[in-house]
């Protein structure tokens, strides 16, 4: 298939599945808390609604940065789709995308001029201190498989079995990283309820639409990377089942646990990272 068509189809699939999974996430959270909750399609409808609403910009916005940052966020996650499902390239680029996402969170918050956005911007920097060590899971994968290439990691698992069994602590670390990106979990301090919508608070209309599209693609990609890197090449049905199971699991965590304050959240994640890194290296020497 033509590369451009392949990219377009994969991005569309990532966007639609990601939107539905985020809708399911909200539904499960609501059901756990004995509320009826919105329909599963709500996230997608919400997103489409922003596209036809008038865009307005705050007086305090730092132009043109404020406009550009929403588009940049979409570009980086489309890049992740190209590197992941399309060409099965290097995990290092996925890491770069993740690091850029932290920078975008920071800049989206600061460029709006909103105090909520600025708090989210500070928290984005603060949480990077904990989330980036969690991404050191890549080093553990490299030590185990001898490669950073997704295609090589898939081939390694085809021969030696899923990495989930041989480096479970690394998988747990990556899972915590995904939890930190989900809404209203103990670690999602950049969009905590106490700062309204965090860095998105002052983004309306088309810009919010861009941010929501990026988030749906991000959710799909985080789950795709986890399932592919720790379970191997899955068929579309098993991939979808895996994504639904993980989304429901994280929604349960979100619905039943409190939002931590930034200090506690970061310290807890650093503890997870330390246990994960040291434990994985010890386990690799033992097994």
């Amino acid at each position: 298939m033509n590369l451009m068509a392949n990219i377009l189809l994969n991005v569309l699939i990532a966007f639609l599945i990601g939107s539905l999974l985020l809708g399911l996430y909200r539904k499960v959270v609501a059901r756990v808390q004995t509320r009826p909750g919105p329909p599963i399609i709500q996230y997608l409808l919400h997103l489409l609604k922003f596209y036809i609403k008038e865009s307005s910009f705050t007086k305090t916005a730092a132009m043109p940065f404020y406009l550009g940052i929403a588009s940049i966020m979409m570009v980086i996650w489309i890049t992740a789709v190209i590197v992941g499902p399309v060409v099965q390239g290097s995990l290092l680029i996925i890491f770069a995308v993740y690091a850029l996402h932290k920078i975008v969170e920071h800049n989206a918050g600061s460029s709006s001029g909103s105090p909520y956005g600025k708090l989210s911007c500070v928290r984005a920097v603060y949480s990077a201190a904990a989330e980036v060590p969690l991404f050191s899971v890549l080093v553990i994968i490299y030590l185990k498989t001898g490669s950073m290439g997704i295609a090589d990691i898939i081939n390694y698992q085809a021969v030696h079995g899923p990495l989930l069994y041989s480096i479970p602590l690394a998988a747990a670390m990556f899972f915590v990283l995904i939890v930190s990106k989900a809404q209203y979990t103990p670690f999602s301090i950049t969009k905590g309820k106490d700062i309204v919508s965090g860095y998105e608070t002052e983004h309306y209309g088309l810009l919010r639409g861009y941010l929501m599209i990026s988030e749906s693609i991000m959710w799909y990609m985080l789950l795709w990377v986890f399932l592919t890197v720790f379970l191997g090449a899955l068929g579309p049905l098993w991939l979808l089942i895996g994504m639904v199971v993980m989304t429901v699991g994280i929604a349960f965590i979100s619905a039943t646990s409190p939002l931590l304050n930034p200090n506690h959240s970061v310290v807890l994640q650093i503890i997870f990272a330390a246990i994960g890194i040291i434990g994985s290296i010890l386990l690799m020497n033992v097994i």
């Binding site: 298939m1 189809l9 599963i40 399609i41």
Partner: protein, 107 residues
């Protein structure tokens, strides 16, 4: 080609959910309290689940078409106003599961 078919499945599911949501809000003006079974939704659910789960048994139409149509029908019931369509969806799944069991395992 596979990706195009997957996209068709997803689009069919999304459109089905939107149609279900719009029609059910038009049909039911109050929240889900009476817990009656909607016969139309039940029939749609049974047809949808049968087309989706038993696509291998249906020889007349290509598998991808039966799955696409099945997903549309199932999504129409799944996407109904919160509360509505739950029982219909579960009954449809059980009926279709029984047909699958008879068709694939017993025969």
């Amino acid at each position: 080609m596979d990706l195009i078919i997957y996209l068709a499945y997803i689009l069919s599911f999304v459109i089905g959910m939107i149609v279900g949501l719009l029609l059910s809000y038009k049909k039911y003006t109050e929240p889900f309290v009476s817990k009656n079974i909607d016969v139309v939704a039940l029939v749609i659910s049974i047809i949808g689940w049968i087309l989706l789960l038993n696509s291998q048994l249906i020889m007349l139409i290509p598998q991808y078409i039966s799955i696409t149509v099945g997903l549309f029908f199932v999504a129409t019931v799944l996407g109904m106003r919160p509360g509505y369509g739950r029982y219909e969806l579960a009954i449809g799944f059980v009926v279709s599961g029984l047909i699958w069991l008879v068709g694939m395992v017993l025969l």
